[in-house]
Subunit: 100 residues, 5 copies
């Protein structure tokens, strides 16, 4: 899984039928130093993530393991909202500080 | 999924038999700032995308989740035509403006 | 799928038993401008591609969708010989011109 | 599989239900010279790896082959704690030296 | 599949149970010019490759197609020892010359 930050929303009316009702968020990936990377993924949100939150993005067939997603053409999903990232060198991210 | 722009068409007569009838579009990927990237994918079109439109491309086994594609050797598919991409910093793309 | 050009052949006598009879071609990838990239794939040829031809390479589990390849340890396959690639900016490739 | 070093921990309370009880470690990848790379993966730990240890990370559907992980949306897992890495040019890593 | 050169061995005693008996080799990838790339993979050896040999590495779910590997968390495997690589511009590699 990769760490990313919720940056925005992608809306589509004309899409593969099984994607109806799937919420697509644009997630910008974060480096191991906590910086935003010039790399992103549009991921299906299955946990209700909000703008600015750090999340875990799973890719590949793993994105279809969520209940009801087995036959949806999805290759990326947000599977967790991150509370904290702790490195040996100290705290990289703490949601309570970020949203205060 | 990645955001891309429909740039062209790939035509082949000599191909794996199960690919007969599949339309292949050349999709150039778009950065999180809306710029064209030097990276592309030839993807099966299952939504009827047109030249210049922004689309969502799914890759890997997800590309074979579309009805009738289960046994086709396809590793990328266009699964949505994008209406809008909204970032925290404002609107990145709006199809109505782009095509006016 | 990615666009590539047939550059050569890889021969092996000591290999996983199910790979017997599989022809391996070295495919160098091509950019969206038609230039050769410093990136390649050794792919199983299931369409009879020849030297110098442009082909479509499919990767991942898609490479095992060809009849008889379901249990072969192959992660890349040539699934089409390209006739033409047309971009909004004009023709990128035409096999008839390339081979005249 | 890739070689990596255990750098930290990712904690999440709001997550996909099947991820309950899964321990997520942040693994920074190591080059073929033993240097830390600017690239990482958040991986499920199924072997009990500790801070600073070198591990093998498997990615993609392989990460769900561990018993009980078949339906969890996990795309990376730590599947081994490395004892030694020996190259033709000599020893690259020896856990006993590293932890003395 | 990618071309690589056997550079070394990775040993682990504490690992996912199904990996017992699997031999892990460190394979450094080779460019389309035959140069060593700063990129590698730790792959399960199913063909008995030796130090310095050029091999074909398959990745992803393909690595689990070898008999007995169906449920092992392996995402890369050595599936062939390369005899020759012939390019349109001449011979890139010949094992008989390399080992004389």
């Amino acid at each position: 899984m990769r760490l990313g930050k919720v940056r925005g929303t992608v809306v589509s009316t004309c899409k593969e039928p099984s994607l109806t009702g799937v919420k697509f968020l644009l997630i910008q990936f974060v480096s191991e130093n906590g910086d935003l990377l010039p790399d992103y993924e549009v991921a299906a949100d299955v946990v209700g993530a909000g703008p600015g939150e750090w999340v875990l993005v799973t890719r590949g067939s793993a994105a279809r393991q969520h209940s009801g997603y087995g036959e949806r053409p999805v290759d990326a999903a947000i599977v967790a909202i991150v509370d904290t990232v702790s490195l040996d060198s100290g705290s990289l991210y703490d949601k309570r500080e970020d949203f205060n």
